[in-house]
């Protein structure tokens, strides 16, 4: 039984298989509303290099859907194909029932897009950026002027309306880009790495704004390599690596399936981590040795730590934390998300 939504997963096991299928059937089952985005066997090649390798997913209206993966996993390429600005090499893609390659303008009229790199017009003032962008949708100035003020308020940028884009902080530019993407009241918002490069406070402000959009019923499609971001914002995630989907499900379900409840992180110093790892065998469900630390997966971190001590090992530092999507990714690929 090969589940429809998951491809080429080397660590596939029967337990994960059944529960994943359950998740996917659930999503399909709840689709009283039609899917706003459907991708089937979507592929993108640049010469010999396959950036996106035969991936499939369906996104129902109102869902918050995340593509999680490291840099170069093919997330942005997928986003650009959905946004109708990149031609696919194979498979089918439908946005609001339209093929973006045939109906580029129509598809893009439905979307709001927040690209990975801000491409605001730095020669125009903050408010003018919104108005100019609205003009591309054929919208009249009589609508755009009040709309721009409203969006600036939403983005908490009202005071900067007359400022130059250049004078905004990174977080403010990002919020302005999001405000810009909302000028046509899109039902679907594509966000490519929305908070990469922002400081923690700026990220939280941004997440709050995105959460409001989600509450208002906007379908969010976002890529990220931050697991906390995926956990905060996404109803459902696909984990992608090297252009393929590795796993799919809600953040909680993924953690349940691929990790333990808690993780004990112990450090013995760079030289010793690898040698000590052998002596840790048998503690917890499994261990993972990284260059700077050893991870012990267990449902009870305190007990695992006691056991480490009982074996006469004294780590320089130790930390017990809850499992995260980072651990899921490590389990699936053997690599870290952020390298």
């Amino acid at each position: 039984m090969k589940p429809q939504l998951v491809w080429g997963n080397p660590l596939w096991d029967s337990k994960a298989c059944t529960s994943l299928v359950r998740v996917s059937i659930q999503t399909r089952g709840s689709a009283a509303s039609p899917y706003v985005i459907s991708a089937h066997n979507l592929t993108k090649k640049y010469g010999d290099f396959t950036a996106v390798d035969n991936i499939s997913f369906d996104i129902p209206a109102g869902e918050s859907f995340g593509l999680l993966g490291p840099n170069g996993a093919g997330k942005s390429t997928t986003m650009r194909m959905i946004g109708g600005v990149s031609q696919r090499s194979g498979g089918t893609l439908s946005i609001m029932g339209l093929d973006p390659e045939k109906y580029g303008p129509e598809v893009r009229s439905h979307l709001g897009v927040v690209p990975q790199q801000d491409n605001l017009d730095e020669e125009l003032k903050v408010r003018d950026n919104l108005i100019v962008y609205g003009r591309y949708f054929g919208l009249p100035l009589s609508y755009l002027k009040p709309k721009a003020d409203e969006l600036l308020e939403f983005a908490q940028l009202s005071e900067k309306a007359g400022a130059k884009v250049d004078d905004l902080s990174g977080g403010m530019k990002r919020r302005l880009t999001i405000a810009r993407s909302l000028v046509n009241d899109p039902k679907i918002l594509l966000l490519d790495e929305p908070t990469t490069g922002l400081d923690p406070q700026a990220r939280h402000i941004l997440w709050d704004r995105l959460f409001r959009l989600k509450e208002a019923g906007t379908t969010l499609v976002l890529t990220t390599h931050y697991m906390d971001e995926a956990e905060q914002l996404c109803d459902r995630i696909v984990v992608v690596d090297k252009g393929r989907i590795m796993a799919e499900g809600s953040p909680a379900a993924l953690i349940r399936q691929y990790s333990t409840r808690e993780v004990l992180e112990v450090r013995f110093g760079s030289e010793r981590n690898a040698t000590v790892a052998a002596e840790l065998a048998g503690i917890g469900e499994r261990t993972e040795t990284l260059p700077d630390r050893v991870l012990i997966y267990t449902d009870d971190g305190e007990r695992a730590l006691e056991e480490v001590a009982a074996r006469g090992l004294s780590p320089l530092t130790s930390l017990i934390r809850r499992s995260s999507l980072e651990d899921v990714f490590l389990r699936l690929t053997g690599r870290s998300l952020i390298d």
Binding site: Q87, Y103, E106, R108, S109, H110, D121, R135
Partner: protein, 276 residues
């Protein structure tokens, strides 16, 4: 979010963008230019004044005293003015078809914002061309007006040279735009274009002296140069410089053909580069 609903459905937006997208982007280009309109205006008044006084009055004093008669019966200022108008148009086109293109694709990636909107890449290319054409027409008209004030445009059809000068700007600028839109980084190409192409064209296109004055092995520069074609046309229009009709047709056709080729290529390159 409690405001008026969007007055257009996505389908209506898309239909409008398909029809008018180029003009929407032209509007953008012009809005950006408005932010430096003061310096454009300053240049469009200051440059003609400086050149007309220096070359047309100062240098003319030297030339009319020594080499009068070389200019078909008109004084040096009248001879020179159409060339200056056309070369000013060509030079502002050079800037506007290089830096904003690089900015759009590379530096600040300003083309990729509209690219995510209903606009198509070819419309972005066209919109930029429309915007720059308007941007060049204005200072060219001002330049011409100042030439008139200097009394250096005697003929009744001289004003048409505003348009031939703008055509010259496009004839040079659009192939340049196509070239720049293939660049992925500036490792000195812009400076090279300025100094190895624009400056020689300015100096060897029959601008300051009739092309025939140059040795024969340099005259081909003039034939290839949009600036020479525009300058000759300008002289015909401005003071009735005698030239066979077929040559006039060659001037217009050459400039039109290069401009159209540049525009078509630019559209293709934009589409290819943004759709990959």
């Amino acid at each position: 979010m409690t405001s008026a609903p969007v007055p257009l459905t996505p389908a209506q937006s898309a239909a409008k963008a398909r029809r008018l997208g180029s003009w929407y982007f032209a509007e953008h280009t012009l809005r950006v230019m408005r932010t430096y309109a003061a310096s454009v205006l300053m240049y469009s008044v200051g440059t003609p004044l400086a050149y007309l006084f220096a070359m047309g009055v100062g240098l003319a004093a030297l030339i009319d005293a020594n080499g009068a008669g070389a200019f078909g019966g008109v004084d040096y200022l009248t001879f020179l003015a159409p060339a200056l108008v056309a070369s000013a148009a060509m030079m502002s086109a050079t800037g506007e078809f290089m830096f904003p293109i690089m900015d759009g694709f590379k530096w600040r990636r300003t083309f990729f914002g509209p690219h995510a909107s209903p606009l198509a890449p070819a419309q972005i290319a066209q919109g930029h061309i429309i915007g720059v054409t308007i941007r060049i027409l204005v200072p060219t008209a001002i330049y011409f007006a100042i030439v008139v004030l200097f009394g250096a445009a005697p003929g009744p059809w001289a004003w048409v040279s505003i348009f031939t000068a703008t055509l010259c700007a496009l004839s040079f600028g659009l192939p340049l735009m196509a070239y720049v839109s293939t660049l992925t980084k500036d490792s000195g190409q812009f400076a090279a274009v300025q100094r190895f192409i624009v400056t020689p064209l300015f100096l060897f296109s029959g601008t300051f002296f009739p092309l025939a004055t140059l040795p024969w092995f340099l005259q081909w520069i003039g034939w290839l140069s949009p600036l020479w074609h525009a300058t000759e046309l300008g002289r015909v229009l401005s003071y009735g410089y005698a030239e066979p009709a077929w040559l006039g047709a060659v001037h217009v056709l050459y400039m039109l053909a290069t401009a159209v080729a540049g525009a078509v290529l630019s559209r293709r390159i934009f589409t290819r580069r943004m759709g990959a």
